[in-house]
């Protein structure tokens, strides 16, 4: 006899003196740790009136789209979408987030990669999905020129703020800035 069995029995005896036996369960697929965390995180999501979500498959909560429509700042009037893919390693690894449009932004490159510290080097398991969406929202209110992914956009923001604003409007309208054509995101 494996000793584990006798140990389990002792542990049970110590824990509860006689709660009825549980329902014998047909073995089914178990909920994963990542699913549990996402279920909890979604229930705490505070989207305000500038963000919405879309679940292409409501049964798969690990994959969804976040829409942001900034109501102030230089990106006001645009509608930006980010794909969220939560891996089985969540929350020990950050969710994978990509901007789905090609946009002109110092912290988002033309492939959609986002430079947000908590999406990479500063991610911790105690952080939640809400922290990520707050971070994304902030990028549109306060684009950051000092550590850019899109170096041209950062140079513009640093050296010529008004020019940068004009470029943002132009890019959001689907225009061309410094030879790159951007996607129309105006609502």
């Amino acid at each position: 006899m494996l000793k584990i069995w006798s140990m389990k029995k002792e542990q049970e005896k110590a824990e509860n003196a006689g709660e009825g036996t549980t329902a014998p369960a047909p073995k089914k697929k178990r909920v994963t740790a990542a699913q549990l965390r996402v279920q909890r995180d979604l229930a705490e999501l505070s989207l305000g009136n500038t963000m919405t979500t879309e679940f292409p498959d409501p049964d798969n909560i690990l994959s969804f789209i976040l829409y942001i429509e900034p109501d102030e700042g230089m990106y006001k009037g645009g509608r930006f979408s980010f794909s969220f893919n939560v891996t089985p390693a969540f929350p020990h690894e950050p969710p994978k987030v990509l901007c789905r449009e090609k946009i002109y932004h110092p912290n988002i490159d033309t492939e959609g990669k986002v430079c947000l510290n908590i999406l990479r080097e500063d991610w911790k398991p105690v952080l939640n999905l809400n922290a990520v969406i707050v971070g994304l929202q902030f990028l549109f209110l306060e684009p950051n020129a000092s550590d850019p992914l899109n170096k041209e956009a950062a140079d513009d923001l640093r050296n010529n703020r008004d020019g940068f604003k004009r470029n943002v409007r132009q890019a959001m309208a689907g225009g061309t800035v410094r030879g790159e054509t951007y996607q129309r995101v105006l609502v």
Binding site: L2, P26, K28, H92, E111, R120
Partner: protein, 434 residues
């Protein structure tokens, strides 16, 4: 059974040393579980599963075979690479390209008469719970945290409080350079791999913007080539980290970038190391950790001495950098562990209830009084209060009956509620009408 080709008369002599320890009690043996006269037979018939036939796996298979286990199974999806041969001693040059599990099994069977080793050349995820249910003991020699978490969750999931054989002890070994660990997990009884995830240090990441605009180290140039340049230029459809042509492309890109910023130190081997996240494997560490794991297997299978986890320390850390140092301690189980923490409670219900009625019954439960519950199963989102789009999509479910939603007697459901931010409730439906 499997010892047919060993002359019966030679068996006792073969295992003389082992028998003097496993069949006779010592000062540390727990008399209540030890029965020396049945140990040899019990170990011969015990089915042991080894996961991984690499650096640790080769050692583990050899150790188990030489410890009196005779029905060993091994899973590994990998094939033998030339770089394995320096430490994965069951493989020879002519085996390169063949299945690790198959070659390892054949070698040990040939070398240790009377042992049967059943190889599986596939992923652990290819098997279902019925497959894992047949083993009495599982030993892992893996390099991936993902695979460890998967098998851990599977073994915890097998536990049925009413069936003794559903408790499968899990022994896990791991090495990195001169460091390693051996741990024993008794699912739902002692701390599990998920409880212990904080023991694995996450890989330090460099900010994306550092890679993009201010690289300083050769590693930054390589990561830039890997993360940014590859995506922009897509030189090959899919990055294959084992393809020298792909690594060379990354190396050249990194080299150009390093030249641009005057950064010294980009080499081909560093590129390979950074991209594949290689930590050198050392044969002697593998030997130590695999032997420590199999030593636990022998103790668990024979009860001839207390194993790790019974009842105190369950984790041995080993370090051979500075002298030799081990730290053997008890890692506590986490009550809120998402894998082994919440044993599902029974929830009385009726197949004819609507989902809304089920949720109302949750609000009335004295222990929780869940007023804003969101409910899912492993595969189906039943009802989510938030975010609004998901609420809207799942609202029609509220008026469907549990039967219509495909929920059966014994179904596990997960309930969250903003009023209990850190708690996750697990319930098992218990239909009255049975």
């Amino acid at each position: 059974m499997a010892s047919a080709n060993v002359h019966p008369a030679s068996e006792p002599a073969r295992w003389k040393y082992l028998d003097s320890v496993r069949t006779r009690p010592g000062p540390f043996t727990d008399a209540s579980t030890f029965n020396g006269s049945v140990v040899a037979r019990a170990m011969e018939t015990m089915k042991v599963l080894v996961i991984g036939a690499g650096g640790l796996g080769c050692e583990i298979l050899k150790n188990l075979a030489l410890s009196g286990f005779k029905d060993i199974h091994v899973i590994d999806m990998d094939t033998i690479d030339i770089s394995n041969l320096n430490r994965q001693f069951l493989f020879r040059q002519e085996d390169v390209g063949k299945s690790k599990a198959e070659v390892a099994a054949r070698f040990v069977e040939k070398r240790v008469r009377g042992v049967r080793i059943t190889p599986y050349n596939c992923k652990i995820q290819d098997f279902d719970e019925d497959f894992y249910m047949q083993f009495q003991l599982v030993i892992c020699g893996l390099d991936s945290i993902e695979a460890r978490r998967w098998i851990n969750a599977t073994l915890v999931g097998l536990v049925d409080e009413n069936i003794e054989d559903s408790y499968k002890p899990l022994i896990d070994g791991g090495t990195e350079g001169f460091k390693g660990q051996a741990r024993v997990i008794f699912p739902t009884v002692t701390s599990c791999i998920e409880c212990q995830l904080d023991m694995h240090a996450p890989r330090a990441a460099v900010p994306l913007c550092t890679l993009a605009s201010i690289p300083r180290q050769p590693e930054h140039c390589i990561e830039w080539a890997h993360v940014i340049a590859w995506d922009q230029e897509k030189p090959f459809p899919q990055l294959d980290k084992d393809d020298p042509e792909h690594i060379n492309w990354l190396y050249q890109k990194a080299l150009d970038r390093a030249r641009e910023f005057n950064i010294p130190g980009v080499t081909y081997s560093l590129t390979q190391g950074v991209v594949k996240n290689i930590i050198p494997a050392i044969a002697s560490t593998n030997s130590v950790i695999a032997a420590a794991c199999c030593n636990e297997a022998l103790k668990i299978a024979s009860n001839c001495a207390p194993s790790l986890g019974l009842p105190d320390a369950n984790y041995m850390m080993y370090s051979g950098n500075d002298g030799i140092y081990t730290y053997t301690f008890r890692h506590e189980r986490k009550d809120d562990c998402p894998v082994c923490g919440g044993q599902a409670r029974d929830l009385p219900a009726d197949a004819a209830w609507t989902l809304r009625e089920l949720l109302d019954s949750l609000a009335a439960r004295p222990e929780a009084q869940l007023r804003q519950p969101s409910v899912r199963t492993a595969t189906k989102t039943l009802y989510m209060q938030l975010p609004p789009s998901l609420e809207e999509q799942t609202r029609p479910n509220l008026d469907k009956t549990l039967a219509e939603l495909g929920l059966d007697h014994g179904q596990e459901i997960v309930v969250t509620d903003p009023a209990f931010a850190t708690v996750i409730f697990m319930f098992k439906l218990k239909f009255k009408s049975r």
